[in-house]
């Protein structure tokens, strides 16, 4: 017998509230090209991106700390496969601990030739120093900035 299939798509839209803490973070990126974290007074750690509370101490964070623009790579990957709804490959992204921060911030890596993955992986190795670059036009998003190998 004929086995039928049916195509379905979910198209729901959302308007997520970001809250005061993330709103300040994104406003500073958009308007002043500055990246801020929040310090947890209990542990002394600076959380970047900033959170209103620390999920380890469960205490509210207390003060703003400007971090970066330099930092070190904590994790990276290079993507060569095309995924629906994600950027066209290849691209590299990962996490960077910015100077003054204790946690890592996610972002794209640019300026590295990804055609030879083994060579690119050496350039992006964990521990490599990078610097933060900001886009000309910024909207208040993590895509307003990216990381490049410090030269």
């Amino acid at each position: 017998m004929e086995l039928m299939t049916r195509n379905e798509a979910w198209n729901i839209t959302y308007r997520h509230a970001l809250g005061e803490t993330a709103s300040y973070f994104y406003t500073e990126i958009r308007d002043n090209k500055k990246i801020f974290g929040r310090r947890c007074a209990t542990s002394g750690r600076v959380l970047v991106p900033p959170r209103a509370f620390s999920d380890q101490t469960l205490k509210p964070t207390t003060d703003w700390v400007e971090v970066g623009p330099g930092g070190v790579i904590e994790a990276f990957t290079m993507v060569y496969e095309d995924f629906q709804g994600l950027p066209p490959p290849p691209y590299a992204f990962g996490y960077v601990m910015l100077d003054g921060a204790d946690t890592a911030l996610g972002g794209f890596f640019r300026g590295v030739d990804l055609s030879n993955s083994a060579e690119a992986a050496k350039k992006l190795a964990v521990g490599t120093r990078v610097t933060t670059k900001f886009a000309e036009k910024r909207i208040g998003d993590v895509l307003d900035f990216w990381f490049e190998i410090a030269g």
Binding site: V48, T77, T103, V126, V142
Partner: protein
């Protein structure tokens, strides 16, 4: 006070495949239910309560799809609830069913579910939406990229080559070739894995689990029920769960609780399950392990979190064959998640396979003399971990 004992008396699983156009989503659930009931020699009417195993709704494309599954599991007018801890869902569902009996709420319960990941246009697109919309979702994160980054940190910390990763694939595919229910059951070679294309460096196509369709079901009963009816059972002697931070970037840097290289909360979860089961030296006391590892590199830190190897030691030990069928502690004798991943029931199948091993009915991939087995499930963004110990 001693914990009331709970036993597994029925196990059912589909022969997992890429697509099952012959069966609707509830049909697949019913297929596994029928297999488990036949194994337990019970009828649906004998089941007092149901725990429904289902991870993200979006993966099957039906909101609260458990409601559609009510009839497939025969739950009409019965106690019924659904568990979702992402990829850990299957083992969390067995734990939830275990708690029903251990609480005294009922004597016989079933947990069941199914997935049709093959019908989801692109599971990585769905899985990108697991991250918080405030910070991490704008990045092209998916489970592959997330765990590629874990692999990079693991390699940086302990040393692990792409050939070492390929070794996991070769081992698990060889195991899967002995398991008729496994989805990817064709044997492979280091060379074939190494020449497959990069998906998310260092993970290549052959380092990835498939998107599988199929169902799973397990029937559990109280000790009284089992003894009154003189049934054979596999006993659940240890149950544990533990969670990590939602934020990947918090598992790096300085002063973190968990390193994204490792599987910290999986280790804590195993400690809880081992404590309950009275296991003090897992390397000696555990005979077979089914560990949730959807990408080759994650099997290493899972083996270590289970206490079957020291930190960073699993790589040379796997190379030496310690985790093969016939080795000292076979890991993923079924082929594991790397060869079959129907997300909603994957972690349930880990437990089912461990139970089949200690029951001595695993078939072609039976580990000789296995009496104590362990299983695990990982869910969320490497965030929720569930573990169990089963004994004959």
């Amino acid at each position: 006070m001693t914990n009331p004992r709970v036993g597994i008396i029925g196990i059912g699983q589909s022969a997992f495949r890429a697509r099952r156009d012959d069966a609707s989503y509830p049909d697949l659930v019913r297929e596994a239910v029928n297999l488990a009931l036949a194994d337990a020699q019970l009828e649906l009417d004998d089941i007092e309560a149901i725990v429904y195993s289902l991870s993200p709704d979006a993966m099957v494309g039906i909101g609260n799809a458990e409601r559609l599954g009510v009839d497939a599991v025969g739950a009409r007018n019965k106690r019924f609830l659904r568990i979702n801890t992402g990829g850990a869902t299957g083992i969390s569902s067995v734990a939830a069913a275990y708690y029903h009996i251990a609480a005294g709420a009922c004597d016989v319960i079933m947990t069941a579910g199914a997935d049709k990941v093959g019908e989801c246009g692109d599971s990585q697109t769905v899985l990108n939406k697991i991250w918080d919309p405030t910070y991490e979702r704008s990045l092209p994160l998916g489970t592959i990229t997330m765990l590629a980054m874990s692999g990079i940190r693991y390699a940086h910390k302990y040393g692990m080559s792409e050939e070492d990763m390929a070794g996991v694939v070769v081992k698990n595919r060889r195991h899967a070739s002995l398991n008729p229910n496994a989805h990817l059951s064709k044997q492979t070679t280091i060379e074939e894995v190494m020449t497959s294309r990069y998906i998310s460096w260092p993970i290549k196509l052959f380092d990835c689990c498939p998107q599988s369709s199929g169902g799973g079901a397990i029937v559990l009963a109280s000790e009284k029920y089992i003894k009154d009816r003189k049934l054979d059972a596999v006993w659940i002697t240890g149950v544990g769960h533990c969670s990590e931070s939602y934020y990947l970037g918090d598992r790096m840097g300085r002063g973190f609780m968990a390193d994204h290289a490792d599987a910290h909360a999986l280790g804590e979860s195993f400690k809880r399950a081992y404590k309950m089961a009275g296991i003090t030296d897992p390397q000696k006391q555990v005979h077979v392990a089914e560990l949730y590892a959807p990408f080759s590199n994650t099997e290493f830190h899972s083996i270590e979190a289970a206490g079957l190897s020291g930190l960073g030691q699993s790589v040379p030990e796997l190379r030496a064959g310690r985790f093969n069928i016939g080795g000292e502690i076979p890991v993923n004798a079924s082929g594991g998640t790397l060869c079959t991943n129907a997300i909603a029931v994957t972690a349930m199948i880990r437990l089912a396979e461990a139970a089949l091993q200690v029951r001595g009915t695993a078939g072609g991939h039976q580990v000789k003399g296995a009496r104590v087995g362990i299983a695990s499930g990982n869910g969320g963004d490497h965030q929720f971990f569930g573990t169990m110990v089963v004994e004959a």
